[in-house]
């Protein structure tokens, strides 16, 4: 059951698998699972959920930069999956379908925040990422990991919204460039250009892999 425990009292999932594992899962199988859930098979949904929950959550956390907002958006995305279960057609990959919903939910959220008088801007969340981490009496390795994490989040926060969106979709959803373009509603060349800019900026802000190894 792919690391999923269905107990009502303690619904826990197996230790995190890297986002790359998502791509290894057969897209056809995902589509079949979604269709099975549409026919009323709960276990199909549980499998589907266990496969995509982590990647989707990371995408939303990185986009919203607030776990509370990410939690709400995460539930909203899955709610839409559930509501649309009987209308789902296996014409596109399930991941494309899922991340399109996530992208749209996040855009809706941004519009709500902007239209709210005195509402906190998404960009306001960046300030916390840019502050120095409070390193008290923790071990050096842990402090270093926190420092790397903080730098990564801060670097992501400096990206323009469109570039961050394309980069996170590439990182977390494992979608192809064409699929990312479809999710974000732009052409493939535009998506590629945004991704190139995003990677260039992150490279400057973060330590490249070769320097770490």
């Amino acid at each position: 059951m792919d690391g999923l425990t269905t107990s009502e009292t303690d619904t826990r999932f197996a230790p995190l698998k890297p986002a790359r594992r998502v791509g290894a899962v057969s897209d056809d199988e995902d589509a079949q699972l979604m269709l099975a859930y549409g026919r009323g098979e709960m276990r199909a949904f549980e499998t589907l959920y266990s496969r995509h929950r982590a990647a989707l959550y990371r995408y939303l956390v990185r986009q919203a930069r607030d776990t509370e907002i990410a939690n709400d958006l995460f539930q909203e995305v899955w709610s839409r999956v559930i509501v649309n279960r009987s209308r789902y057609e296996a014409r596109a990959k399930f991941r494309t379908f899922l991340f399109t919903l996530a992208h749209n939910c996040f855009i809706d959220h941004c519009r709500r925040v902007k239209s709210r008088p005195g509402g906190a801007s998404i960009e306001d969340a960046d300030a916390a990422d840019l502050l120095p981490a409070d390193d008290d009496s923790r071990p050096d390795a842990e402090i270093e990991r926190d420092e790397n994490s903080r730098r990564y989040r801060a670097a992501l926060a400096t990206l323009p919204q469109e570039q961050r969106d394309v980069y996170l979709l590439h990182e977390e959803s494992d979608l192809s460039l064409e699929e990312i373009a479809r999710v974000t509603g732009v052409g493939a060349e535009t998506a590629k250009s945004r991704l190139r800019y995003a990677v260039g900026k992150l490279k400057i802000a973060l330590t490249p892999v070769e320097e770490l190894t």
Binding site: T6, E8, D10, T11, R12, F13, L16, P18, R20, G23, Y37, G40, E41, M42, F45, E46, Y49, R53, A54, Y57, R58, V61, T67, N71, F74, Q75, W78, S79, I82, V83, R85, R145, D146, N148, S149, Y152, R153, H170, E171, D174, L177, K192, L195, R196, V199, L202, K203, L206, T207, P208, V209, L212
Partner: protein
């Protein structure tokens, strides 16, 4: 520059990582959120199954068909019955006849012509006469005639109508009109042709 291009192409093709993601950032949704989503998914299909059970009951379709047939049969039967037995028209005469039957007056006093009522009965059921207008001579004559003893020809409608025709033929139009008006007042249920 081509090195950067190759690096980016490798990154796009997921053959290579440009930078290492901090492990601490590999976050997961909280268990509570997992529970909420799974519960929502389960409730959605359970409610749908309940709907299906209600809609798809095995006796539902036959019951609906039987009910439809019953209603259709009842309508057809009702229409057929109403065609065969026309409802008799309710007229003053029929009501009077029924009343006569219940009151059981002496048979001799009731007019012998079927469907007609006696003068007394007609007077009993007739609405009160409107106040007399200031008076044409003919009307006055009719009223006087009525006030005294009613003429013999008034007892029988047919005779009365014949008398009206006779007056009109004799050129006594005013009297004929007055008699006709009185006749109409007493015999409202009778259709009198306008030429009388």
């Amino acid at each position: 520059m081509s090195g950067d291009e190759d690096e980016f192409d490798d990154f796009l093709a997921r053959r290579r990582k440009i930078f290492r993601l901090p492990e601490r950032d590999l976050v997961e949704p909280p268990a509570e959120v997992d529970r909420i989503v799974l519960r929502q998914a389960r409730e959605a299909i359970e409610s749908r199954n309940t709907d299906r059970e209600i809609r798809g009951m095995s006796w539902g379709a036959p019951l609906a068909l039987a009910a439809s047939l019953l209603v259709a049969f009842t309508i057809v039967l009702n229409i057929g019955m109403s065609k065969r037995e026309p409802v008799p028209e309710v007229t003053v005469e029929s009501v009077a006849q029924r009343r006569d039957a219940t009151l059981a007056p002496p048979a001799a006093e009731v007019a012998s012509v079927p469907g007609l009522v006696s003068q007394q009965e007609a007077d009993r059921y007739a609405p009160p006469a409107p106040p007399a207008p200031a008076a044409s001579p003919a009307r006055t004559a009719a009223s006087v005639a009525k006030a005294g003893s009613a003429p013999e020809w008034r007892r029988d409608p047919a005779t009365w109508l014949a008398e009206i025709q006779r007056l009109r033929a004799a050129g006594k139009s005013a009297e004929a009109d007055a008699e006709l008006a009185e006749y109409k007042r007493q015999h409202r249920a009778y259709a009198v042709s306008p030429d009388r």
